[in-house]
């Protein structure tokens, strides 16, 4: 899902970064946001709605709407659409509002 050739823009291949998503090891690229890296791996479902547990993806991509909240390195409610990916991050789908201990 990465754009390698574009008529207007240049996207250089950047160094690979490993992280885990719900226990699976995935790879992103340096400079990705967490949500971007998940997208590039075909993962669009980032969270579940509070009451009906409907799947949620990201909507605004600029940190406005909360639909991309995930648990990252034990911290809940991280806005993954604007948070840069770092090597070794442990990213989890968040159930419900997220507790202080991250689960």
């Amino acid at each position: 899902m990465r754009i390698r050739e574009h008529p207007i823009l240049r996207f250089k291949e950047r160094s690979k970064i490993a992280f885990t998503f719900d226990g699976r090891t995935l790879y992103g690229e340096a400079g990705d946001t967490i949500a971007g890296a998940l997208h590039a791996n075909g993962v669009k479902e980032l969270s579940r709605s509070l009451h009906l547990h409907r799947p949620r993806g990201f909507y605004c991509a600029i940190g406005n709407c909360a639909s991309c909240h995930m648990t990252v390195d034990g911290e809940a409610n991280v806005r993954t659409c604007i948070t840069p990916l770092k090597a070794g991050m442990v990213v989890k789908t968040q159930q419900g509002k997220g507790r202080v201990d991250g689960y």
């Binding site: 754009i3 990705d32 799947p55 993806g57 990201f58 600029i62 406005n64």
Partner: protein, 362 residues
């Protein structure tokens, strides 16, 4: 006396130009944006802009941004402080601003504030509009034009204003097939030239048509569109199923007035601007002395007009600080004329209407 002389919130075209004029007038300026870089909407705009030479016409948004930044640096003279990746979260009655950067809070207390926060994207109600794969048009732009990642392979665009048409074109450029552009109104909302260049790529645009629902188990697997009757109601039996994995909503913008609302400045609901907009006097000042607003947060329009408004707001804010500006009157007159010309055409009818409404109230 505040701790800062001038704070500009938002580093889009309006904020950048407000900062530029304040710097020219000799003021110390703090420019804040929640994004990691300056440019606002410009950083996602890969197409060439309209307008005239003075508005950077025929130059792509992504390139205009670099020119503006360069101009700022040149005139900064050590008096410009930029705070990026910083969100202004609070605007208090005493005029103080609460800023958040990397989970830490900062307090600023400026003498003048120029609010240039732009607009936020609206959404629209339909079944399945919360499924992963339904995005605001701007989010799709961020993903593909900033991060180089495709949202999917086949898309439906809802809305045929300039943003819908341009983002549909950009989707095609990124290798995503746009199956259809649907528009609820009788006519295409955006410029004819944008519509024509999309049609030339084989993308159908259907008016009097909208999305009925998006479906899929864990993400969008398809969408159903249907035609609308004269009353705007969906016509039973006219449904058509499209196999798409991406639904992109470009159904309008609303001014991002949250900060101004916290200050309780006078605002007014202006349907032409997609929501509540601050009431401004002829110096771009809100009902709160020393607080100015310009660009999309004041009236949802274009980068070209946002730049001119930004300059005017910057000049007036400098005036409020008693900063001397050479040939001030001529400068203001020239900028106002430029704005009037930009807005004089039929494409700006709604803007003129909206501005009249704001004016009636002021």
């Amino acid at each position: 006396m505040g701790t800062e002389e001038a704070v500009v919130i938002g580093a889009g075209p309006a904020g950048l130009f407000a900062a530029y004029e304040l710097l020219l007038a000799g003021a110390d300026v703090t420019l804040i944006d929640r994004a990691a870089q300056a440019g606002g909407q410009l950083v996602k705009q890969t197409h060439k802009f309209f307008g005239s030479k003075e508005h950077y016409a025929s130059i792509r948004g992504i390139d205009i941004r670099h020119r503006l930044e360069h101009a700022l640096e040149k005139n900064g003279d050590g008096r410009l402080r930029t705070l990026y990746s910083t969100t202004v979260a609070g605007f208090y009655a005493d005029g103080a601003l609460a800023c958040v950067k990397a989970e830490r809070y900062y307090r600023l207390h400026p003498e003048v504030v120029v609010v240039a926060t732009g607009a936020s994207e609206r959404t629209v109600a339909f079944a399945g509009n919360d499924l992963p794969g339904v995005y605001a048009a701007g989010a799709v732009q961020t993903l593909m034009n900033e991060q180089g990642i495709r949202p999917g392979n086949r898309a439906l665009m809802v809305g045929s204003g300039n943003i819908g048409l341009i983002v549909a074109y950009q989707l095609m450029q990124a290798g995503i097939q746009v199956e259809r552009v649907v528009e609820a109104a009788d006519e295409i909302g955006g410029y004819q030239v944008h519509a024509s260049k999309l049609r030339r790529l084989g993308v159908p645009i259907e008016t009097k048509t909208t999305i009925k629902r998006a479906f899929g188990t864990n993400q969008v697997e398809g969408a159903e569109i249907w035609r609308l009757d004269a009353k705007g109601e969906g016509i039973a039996g006219s449904e058509e199923r499209l196999t798409v994995d991406t639904v992109c909503l470009a159904v309008g913008l609303s001014p991002l007035v949250e900060l101004l609302s916290q200050l309780s400045v006078d605002t007014r609901f202006i349907p032409e601007f997609g929501g509540v907009a601050p009431v401004l006097d002829e110096t771009y000042m809100t009902s709160r002395p020393g607080v100015f607003a310009c660009g999309d947060v004041a009236n949802v329009e274009e980068a070209s007009t946002a730049m001119v408004e930004g300059r005017l707001a910057g000049i007036h804010a400098a005036g409020y600080l008693n900063r001397q500006i050479p040939r001030r009157k001529e400068k203001i007159q020239a900028l106002e004329t430029s704005l009037r010309t930009l807005r004089s055409g039929p494409a700006s009818e709604h803007v003129r209407k909206g501005l009249r409404k704001v004016g009636e109230h002021a």
